[in-house]
């Protein structure tokens, strides 16, 4: 097992190097002078320009610059934002809990609804439940989520006035020493109504973000379950008189979950892409909105740092999923 884990981690190193090259190279291939772009100043005097070039290290060979970039990144220095002039890593870590909270809630919604729906659809194959749920899943899978979010705002905020349009919590509440996990902060503060406010802000974005993963998980669970239900050992279990609930719950479900867990893991990358759109629609102050804002504000150090961090996070999550896969499916481990 240790060998397996080690091999997986070793395998990531070339990809990791590639990611740093993309993040490093991105600023270099932008149209325009990288010094002017990175400095974000206008009307530079030639002296100031030379000074900046030296300061940014652009007068050295490119491979030295790349080496220094990697060295700085390894020491947690992603540069400073051109807009706020604060360290990019600090900005990222401040906003990340917001995205994490949204993502975890969305994933919980997707799993808690998607897996049972997929299982029931498979057991009752061809029934009206199967047909309705799978048609709904395909609609969900085809959904332009930025539009779906707007529709939900029209209905729940515009017509019914049930939920707020944007933000994470009502302005009435403020947590000076908060963790920026709003639900947690609201509970910890003990302020009356804070939790309700946080939840009412969270529900629509989470539903929107959950839509595509939910559809994918439901479809994948159904097909994995159908495959397993046709296996000999399930037939044997049935034939020897085991109660159907036990056959499905113990024999079928456990094995059907193996591909489903991979699917769930793969949704994390999708979730990041979804967060970009969802956070923009709901003005959710997380990483996705920050990236879009940074791109349109031409805050290139932030884009560079964000790109790097997001890719690393997605990679680590995929690694964990891979390892989990090895844990529940010994056949993979010993290949």
């Amino acid at each position: 097992m240790i060998r397996f884990i080690f091999g997986k981690i070793l395998w990531l190193i070339p990809t990791l190097i590639g990611i740093t090259i993309v993040a490093f190279g991105f600023v270099r291939v932008l149209p325009g002078d990288p010094v002017l772009l990175m400095a974000g100043e206008r009307g530079l005097s030639p002296e100031r320009y030379a000074e900046l070039t030296h300061q940014l290290g652009y007068d050295r060979p490119i491979w030295v610059q790349y080496g220094e970039f990697v060295w700085r990144v390894l020491h947690g220095d992603l540069g400073d934002s051109l807009v706020t002039h604060r360290p990019v890593l600090h900005e990222f870590l401040t906003l990340f809990p917001a995205t994490l909270e949204l993502g975890i809630t969305a994933m919980l919604i997707a799993i808690v609804i998607g897996v049972p729906v997929g299982v029931i659809a498979a057991i009752k194959r061809g029934s009206w439940f199967d047909q309705v749920s799978m048609t709904t899943a395909l609609v969900g899978y085809s959904m332009p989520i930025f539009w779906w979010g707007l529709l939900l705002i029209i209905l729940f905020s515009g017509v019914l006035h049930w939920t707020p349009v944007s933000g994470r919590i009502s302005l009435m509440y403020y947590f000076p020493n908060g963790t920026n996990f709003m639900i947690w902060d609201a509970i910890a503060s003990g302020q009356k109504g804070a939790l309700t406010s946080a939840l009412s802000h969270l529900v629509l974005p989470a539903v929107v973000l959950a839509t595509i993963p939910l559809a994918v998980i439901a479809r994948q669970t159904r097909s994995a379950m159908l495959e397993v239900l046709g296996e000999d050992y399930v037939r044997t279990a049935r034939a020897k008189g085991m109660p159907p609930r036990r056959v499905i719950g113990i024999h079928a479900l456990r094995n059907a979950m193996i591909p489903v867990i991979t699917t769930i893991g793969l949704q994390v990358g999708m979730l990041m892409a979804g967060a970009i759109l969802t956070e923009t629609i709901f003005s959710w102050p997380g990483i996705g909105k920050w990236m879009v804002d940074s791109i349109s504000r031409r805050d290139y150090p932030s884009v560079q740092g964000g790109l790097l961090m997001i890719a690393v996070i997605v990679m680590v999550v995929n690694l964990i999923v891979d390892l989990l896969y090895g844990l529940i499916n010994p056949r993979i481990r010993h290949r």
Binding site: I19, P144, L151, I154, I295
Partner: protein
């Protein structure tokens, strides 16, 4: 079965067999009809549309759907500057279908060539190509596309290129896997012994036998490309106003969501219907092309 009289192996028989399995999936057939309708709407947009996509009726701003005005009947209403939404949607169909087609063709051709090279030659060629693909896949596709567009500059063409770049690793991986499965089979060996060169072996002997998964991936990418380019348009990084691209239309409509529901509803509905039709067709294609699922 009607197709038993045809001799198997001929192209017509293959087509008939394909249609037999495809048409068993009712949803896929309905989707095909819807898709053809969208395609016709796109082609005939100048004839079907009552107004030009950019014509502004200043005295009919945000007119509700089904309103009659001095300029005629607005079936789906008008937008904030008085443009007929239905006409814009009809012209917008051209962009969405073109986008999907362009992205798939570009991603498919680059991906297939890279996948063929990696799978056929193996060794360091394989390692280098697949490592690069891994790097591209490490980034969430929409994010990488956004950054590419930031590099290339916003616009529809750049958005399409960016999306194609982030999609092609999927084609490369599929092709590589299929090629590795095929290349040691007897027919390939036979062609090799008969003196076929690498190019011929790769493109004429092996490639046609790897097509089924690529076609399915192609339909999926087609619908995803429409969604992602619309998303880029929505974020202001794709087609630029006043282009009647559906995502860009949604982006322009955002500020009116609580005042004029129709400005937001119809472009999104157009995206959903088109994407849904393509995905349903994809399901039908998979059923028809995947021999594992065939019951014969």
């Amino acid at each position: 079965m009607a197709d038993t009289t045809l001799t198997p192996g001929t192209r017509r028989a293959q087509l008939a067999e394909f249609w037999f399995y495809f048409s068993e999936n009712r949803g896929a057939v309905i989707a095909l009809v819807v898709f053809v309708l969208v395609l016709l709407a796109a082609i005939a947009a100048p004839i079907l549309a009552a107004h030009g996509p950019d014509v502004q009726f200043r005295d009919a701003l945000l007119a509700k759907p089904m309103t009659d005005t001095a300029h005629g009947h607005f079936w789906l209403g008008t937008d904030a500057v008085g443009r007929d939404i239905l006409s814009r949607l009809l012209f917008g169909a051209r962009y969405s279908l073109f986008v999907g087609f362009f992205v798939v063709v570009l991603a498919l051709s680059v991906g297939v060539i890279l996948g063929l090279l990696a799978g056929w030659f193996g060794g360091w060629v394989d390692t280098v190509i697949m490592r690069v693909m891994d790097v591209i896949l490490a980034f969430p596709s929409l994010l990488l596309a956004l950054v590419f567009v930031a590099v290339l500059g916003p616009g529809l063409i750049n958005a399409m290129i960016a999306i194609a770049v982030v999609y092609q690793p999927h084609f490369a991986r599929l092709t590589r896997a299929a090629v590795m499965g095929e290349k040691n089979k007897d027919y390939v060996m036979a062609a090799q012994v008969a003196g076929a060169g690498n190019m011929r072996l790769m493109f004429i002997t092996v490639l046609p036998n790897c097509l089924a998964p690529l076609i399915v991936q192609g339909t999926m990418s087609f619908s995803n490309a429409i969604l992602d380019v619309a998303a880029l348009g929505f974020l202001g990084m794709g087609a630029q106003p006043p282009t009647p691209e559906w995502g860009t239309m949604l982006s322009e409509a955002r500020e009116f969501i609580l005042r004029a529901w129709w400005v937001v509803t119809f472009p999104g509905l157009a995206i959903l219907i088109t994407v849904l039709a393509i995905n349903l067709m994809g399901d039908g294609l998979r059923d028809a092309l995947d021999p594992k699922l065939k019951r014969s």
